[in-house]
Amino acid sequence: MHTIRKLAICSLVAAALAPAAAMGRDSVKIGFVTFLSGPAAAPFGVPAKNAAEFVVEQLNAGKGPAPYRKKGYGGGSIETVIIDEAGSTTTQVTEYRNLVQRHNVDLVIGYVSSGNCLAIAPVAEELKKLTNFFDCGTPRIFEDASYRYVFRTSPTATMDSVGAALYVKDARPNVKTIAGINQNYAWGQDSWGDFEAAMKVLAPQVEVRTSQMPKLFAGQYNAEISALLGANADVIHSSFWDGDLEALILQGGPRGLMKKSITVLTAGETAMHKLGAQIPDGTVLGARGPFGPYAPDNRYNQWFLKGYMAKFSEQPNYASYQMAQAILGVKLAWEKAQEANGGKTPSNEQVAAALENISFEGPGGTVKLANGKGHQAVMETVYGETKLVNGKLAVVNVKRYPADQVNPPANMKAADWIKGGFKK
């Protein structure tokens, strides 16, 4: 009799629990990693964190635009753990392990620094934790290795550099000399390497006058500016970002650096909102894709731009856009995997499989994970020139370059594609 009663109770409990399991978990914990301190916090980390807060809040309230209308991720509220990306790469690897093994996050979205992305990717693979890089740009991540759990929903530096070279060639067809100032680590070296190679394909006679590679966060650039002014090149290329970009503008502006040569700032959009008056007219600004002033007027951007500005009383910059699309892309894959899993919470392997080769719409337009065996996003890119209008910096002469014109084909290294004359 006792046995029968026990069996009956167990059956009732199992029956009660079954629908809960089938519906998926009540919450999904996401680890966000971005700069909250240091020179990269203000222009990148904080706008990205703000975007994460806004998007998570909207999704949890079921207020995202379709097809992001379902609450949170697959009906489960999103919980966030936000970690500071400042510090050494070793610190970041330790913090990543903490996120996975102590905070037990379901997935990680983060990383601005290319150096950190290169270090985190193999660790994510080792720990089998779905990780989406939202901003870092080095193309080496998926060119030098293949990953199952690692994704990047933002384009690489190759797109920025090739787009910059195309814009320069369009704006000044007779360009004969170029010079560069880039930070001496993965991002800066890759950006300059791709730009130089692309310019040599587009204008074979082009001569490199100087390539300055100061240390990241060096802060003082008077000698480099002198070398660039002395080089007297037609075009100066810089992929500077964070406080370094702002210091270069502040120190180079009074010396006429950006007036003497056409200056291309591939990540310059982050400075335009705060240093508008210091950036001379005619400076070529990139936003690492169709973000910020270059974002399309679609319903996702209307939702994001309006909501972000209402919440934070400032314009979102490209780091904000990249963060927003990183969260939205994984949401789609999560829900697709959950649906395929009969409504149960999907495993990281199932979400990763759903995220591979995905194509989705976001505030920056169409994102296709077409490269890196379906793990690396490609997008169109956009460049324009600055012009001060009524005391506010605007972009004019805007040119858009479709994704297949500025990104290498799938499974082809960026350097080989550029050197081969952009042949598919």
Binding site: L36, S37, G243
Partner: protein, 298 residues
């Protein structure tokens, strides 16, 4: 354009900035035998105070030419608010401890002050570009340089000269030299060593804050500003010899010129060249170029 001329001008300007940044560090080590990591924090505090005070000054429409005086005043005010507190509140209880322990304590204080800065000013950048462009520019060899850079060169000369004069030509300076030479005997002779430590720490920190304040118009003032400076300042004072004023001057000139040469002629080694010079100096002069002879106590 003559590249040699440009190398020299850039080298001098960078040296001046480095010397101002490193001067307080070598002074504090010379007197107190503290490798003071909080030096970077005072540099950052000076930059934030300079940006805030000057920003407020200019926003109220006061005369822009006086903004240079505001930069200096900001450094003095912020140092007086923090430095005596750090020295009297914490460091004075640690002087009996080993140098390495004090180094770790100043590192801990550096981290605390970094967070204090974030609490006060947040993480958004501060810009005060106006003083940098206000004085116009001058040309050397066909290249334009902001006249503001000459203020830094002048400031370096005045600070170095004043400190040398203070140490060697005044009664207070001579008493300070006695404290440097032997604090125990100085105490026995009636010198208030604690007071000299307080004044030295405050004055040395003020030099760091002045460096930060006068750098503020040329950079984006953001958290973490002091980290890079402390590393470079250490390189300069180690090359010159810890505690030596002429050593710091020579170290700054060497680093400034070598870096400038590499930027103009071999930019790919710029990152490495400063530390190569430091390694070479230490290989042949392990205590730096101007290391002071240490009396052996029996």
């Amino acid at each position: 354009m003559d590249p040699i001329l440009s190398v020299i001008v850039d080298g001098i300007m960078y040296s001046a900035w480095l010397f101002i940044a490193a001067l307080g560090l070598t002074l504090i080590y010379g007197v107190m035998k503290i490798v003071n990591v909080t030096h970077g924090s005072f540099y950052a505090l000076g930059a934030y105070a300079g940006a805030s005070f000057t920003g407020a000054w200019l926003a109220r429409g006061y005369p822009p030419m006086l903004s240079y005086a505001v930069l200096a005043a900001a450094a003095v005010v912020i140092t007086l608010a923090f430095a005596p507190l750090v020295e009297r509140g914490i460091l004075r209880f640690m002087y009996a401890k080993d140098e390495v322990v004090i180094l770790l304590i100043t590192y801990a204080l550096f981290l605390i002050l970094e967070d204090t800065i974030k609490l006060i000013w947040g993480v958004n950048p501060y810009f005060i570009a106006q003083p940098y462009a206000l004085l116009g520019s001058f040309e050397v060899g066909g290249l334009s340089y902001p006249t503001y850079n000459l203020i830094l060169v002048g400031l370096a000369l005045v600070m170095g000269g004043a400190l040398a004069w203070l140490q060697h030509s005044t009664r207070v300076g001579k008493l300070l030299l006695a404290v440097i030479h032997d604090p125990e005997v100085s105490r026995a002779m009636g010198i208030n060593v604690g007071k000299y430590y307080l004044v030295t720490f405050t004055f040395g920190s003020m030099l760091a804050a002045l460096a930060g304040s006068f750098t503020a118009p040329t950079v984006s003032v953001v958290p973490g500003l002091g980290v890079e400076v402390i590393v470079l300042s250490f390189a300069v004072v180690v090359i010159g010899g810890l505690g030596s004023l002429p050593g710091a001057a020579l170290g700054a000139v060497m680093v400034g010129l070598v870096r400038s040469i590499s930027v103009h002629y071999m930019p790919q080694v710029e990152l490495f060249v400063i530390y190569f010079v430091m390694a070479m100096v230490l290989a042949f002069r392990p205590r730096g170029l101007f290391s002071l002879a240490e009396p052996r106590k029996i």
